[in-house]
């Protein structure tokens, strides 16, 4: 229990700091692009293109998808179009944070919880690897996290701005999860196991989900212009790289301090 308590402390410290840091990065990098995309999303949905003015933000797609006086989403992104996931059925009155500081606050909270969650996974991997850990090797672990959690799933399912047609949510989540786990496991086999056959299996595991392919929408439509979508992929990927380097380095630093042999 003492070991777990220490791992938890390491993860909370690293997650708080890396999550707080990436909240700042998101406010400058990804959030402006999300807000810009929402202008297109809602402009199209309401049949009134008013770029430059951010309308009230409706973040649950079902609400804008099929509820503008009964007519369906202009781009067919609504629930009835067959493109949106059938199980995606948020209540009409589901709470959401108001734009401005409240929305930023919840993004910060979610970023920090994500940081702590991934730091707990990293700390577990540190223990199981049996390797010597410090801030520098932590950077390497962070890069492996970036490859497993962002790069590999992002090849099949790139980060998307709101208002992009996509395949059923659960299918995408399962492919994403499988890809992240296979890539992480594959990297562990390549780098933590000395046997050649382990490396070969590891590489096969990393490639496998891309041979199967990610679930794709029937028709690729997006409310936002392609340039904005591309800008978002870059912003999200670079933000994530910074997040993982910070998280890996910090987790390695605190881990080494916490478990330094007496």
């Amino acid at each position: 229990m003492e070991t777990f308590r220490r791992l938890f402390t390491v993860a909370v410290l690293a997650g708080l700091m890396a999550g707080g840091f990436v909240t700042l990065v998101h406010q400058f990098g990804t959030v402006p692009v999300i807000l810009a995309a929402e202008v297109f999303e809602h402009g199209e949905a309401a049949g009134q293109a008013t770029p430059g003015v951010v309308p009230h933000t409706e973040k649950s797609h079902t609400r804008e998808g099929h509820n503008h006086d009964g007519h369906s989403h202009a781009l067919g992104l609504g629930r009835d179009s067959g493109l949106a996931p059938p199980g995606h059925d948020h209540g009409e009155a589901a709470w959401e944070p108001a734009d401005g500081w409240e929305r930023t606050l919840y993004t910060a909270l979610a970023d920090i919880l994500t940081g702590i969650g991934f730091a707990l996974l990293l700390a577990a991997a540190f223990v199981l690897s049996g390797r010597r850990i410090d801030w520098r090797s932590g950077l390497g672990w962070g890069l492996a996290g970036f490859a497993s959690i962002t790069l590999a799933p992002g090849l099949g399912l790139p980060p998307e701005v709101p208002g992009t047609a996509a395949a059923a949510l659960l299918d995408r989540q399962l492919w994403w999860l499988a890809t992240a786990m296979l890539t992480g496991g594959g990297l562990a086999l390549v780098f933590l196991d000395r046997r050649v056959v382990a490396s070969a299996i590891g590489i096969a595991l990393i490639v496998l989900p891309h041979l199967i392919g990610a679930p794709q929408p029937v028709e690729a439509i997006s409310a936002a212009p392609p340039a904005l979508a591309h800008q978002f992929v870059v912003a999200a990927t670079v933000s994530s790289l910074l997040f993982w380097l910070a998280l890996g380095g910090l987790a390695g630093f605190f881990y080494e301090r916490s478990f330094k042999s007496a």
């Binding site: 003492e2 070991t3 777990f4 791992l7 938890f8 993860a11 998101h26 990098g29 990804t30 959030v31 999300i34 973040k59 649950s60 996931p85 995606h88 948020h90 209540g91 589901a94 709470w95 959401e96 919840y106 993004t107 909270l109 979610a110 970023d111 919880l113 994500t114 702590i116 969650g117 991934f118 730091a119 707990l120 996974l121 700390a123 577990a124 991997a125 540190f126 223990v127 199981l128 049996g130 010597r132 959690i149 962002t150 799933p153 992002g154 980060p159 998307e160 709101p162 996509a166 949510l169 994403w176 999860l177 978002f232 912003a235 999200a236 990927t237 933000s239 994530s240 478990f259 007496a262």
Partner: protein, 66 residues
């Protein structure tokens, strides 16, 4: 306390201290489970309120959304 100061015991050391390695593995598994639960709640839960609160984080992290 070797259990706490050396969570990453070498196999030889672990053999000398039965249970130490097991304790470290148990702690690692607990840590991983808690981490996975947090990630699921923030990034993957289909509950509308969880989705809306973490909306920008989900998009920014490239988690499948909507």
């Amino acid at each position: 306390m070797q259990t706490t100061s050396h969570p990453t015991l070498h196999p030889t050391t672990a053999a000398a201290v039965p249970g130490a390695r097991t304790g470290a593995v148990t702690a690692a598994v607990m840590s991983a489970l808690l981490g996975a639960f947090l990630i699921w709640g923030v990034g993957f839960s289909h509950i509308a309120v969880a989705h809306n609160a973490a909306h920008d984080t989900r998009h920014s992290n490239g988690f499948p959304c909507h």
